[in-house]
Subunit: 263 residues, 2 copies
């Protein structure tokens, strides 16, 4: 962010959020980097140094084959109990439990847990809107390791051009506020959490705000172009955002439950 | 968002986040719309139809003269008690209490309340980093009514060009996640909360995500350019974001405490 401070009195370039259109349906086993590269070309651009590629979680999960056929899921006792409370499909609840380490809230229509990745979210981020081959109901889990997925996409793209930073985004609800925004659940090549402790502002005072959730800001900016990822824009490029600091994964954004300030 | 759905197979324009540089120190009584207009010109652009102007809370509060001299604040009994717990300045705690309706958490170094505006936040959003005339310590409160402030800026700018949508942004911490992002605490001319209930996705299925916190997404996108508002970029234009829906205030984003799903 030195550019931002140094540039206070000059005109600065606009940050651009470039929607990647023309990325078709992604299926298990797809080479997602190649699919995205084709989408970048179809959108009339090419990656340049400093670009941040934002990829919505859903296409990462699809490419990684994270589907589960609901008919193959047998709910256990705890899932049946929580399904009765939440009025949700017991098979879905079983999957949520398998993906979670802690149950935080179970009331009618609401099941909030801490995902094994450390994310506190509804339904363990599982999407069940997708219908698979033959009309069988399927659920789609989060990627196994979104930080690794992000690094893999960055590495693959680096073989044909500059290595972009990559953020994998997902829609999230929040306590106390209505509506969803987006967060970064995976990141590579940029500091997902930028620690500015020790830096000073232009008056020479120590910054009040010392840790910035860069990956969440990037994911939210990208969400302006992706909608909820259901509208044919499953990836965007964020260009001209002058980040600095070492690469840190999105896992850094998970606050340990015991340290939560709001609880 | 119809543009997003209809445009899935065409290249779409990039959304731009245009930093407004050259806005100097804002002081009480300033005509903020005029100051911003000068900043827009100094940044080599002009407002066009559909633009969203994002203004950081701090300069709105400054222009509205929301300073309080800490020496003039006498802490009451409750403020003294909470100051001892939180190890904060009792005068600051007194101001927080005056600005709040509910105390949610008071532990060492942390004081979280529900602001009279409905926002759940630390220290009632009060900034005390500013030093006033003569070196006296001052605190800066949130605008009295940020939705009204946003509408006032939009109305004033409409006298010399197209009326922009306006979002007043602030940095916010979140439960369970590290680092700050930004939210919209005031809005005019766009749906701060966009209700998409009843809409369907491109497969004809009802959308899973039905309410989108547009003003928070816009504020977070803008935060990529403003930093934390301390770096000489206190306002930005978000251009080419195709929003629709009726104008709704940022107050819509406050979830009533009793309805909170995560608690």
């Amino acid at each position: 962010m030195n550019l931002q401070r140094a540039g206070a009195t000059r005109a600065r370039r606009a940050i651009e959020i470039i929607p990647l259109t023309g990325i078709g349906e992604v299926v298990p086993g797809d080479d997602l980097a190649a699919t995205i590269l084709a989408g970048i070309e179809a959108s009339g651009t090419a990656l340049i140094a400093g670009d941040i590629l934002v990829v919505t979680q859903k296409i990462v999960s699809k490419a990684e084959g994270r589907f589960v056929a609901l008919d193959a899921v047998t709910p256990g006792e705890e899932a049946l109990r929580l399904a009765a409370i939440t009025r949700k499909d017991p098979r879905l609840v079983e999957l949520v439990l398998r993906e979670s380490t802690t149950i935080l809230r179970a009331v009618p229509h609401v099941l909030i847990t801490r995902h094994r990745l450390g994310l506190v979210m509804a339904n363990a981020g599982i999407d069940r809107s997708n219908i698979g081959p033959g009309g069988a109901e399927r659920a789609l889990l989060l990627p196994e390791d979104p930080d690794r997925s992000a690094a893999g996409i960055a590495d693959a793209l680096a073989m044909s051009g500059p290595r972009p930073a990559v953020v994998i985004s997902d829609s999230f609800g929040r306590p106390w506020r209505m509506g969803v925004t987006a967060v970064g659940i995976g990141a590579a090549g940029l500091p997902a959490l930028h620690d500015r402790r020790g830096e000073v502002d232009r008056d020479g005072r120590t910054l009040e705000v010392t840790q910035v959730a860069i990956a969440d800001l990037i994911a939210s900016a990208a969400a302006l172009a992706t909608g909820e990822g259901a509208e044919g824009v499953p990836a965007v490029i964020v260009r001209n955002y002058p980040f600095e600091g070492e690469s840190r994964p999105a896992a850094d954004l998970n606050r340990p439950l015991a340290e939560d300030l709001f609880q």
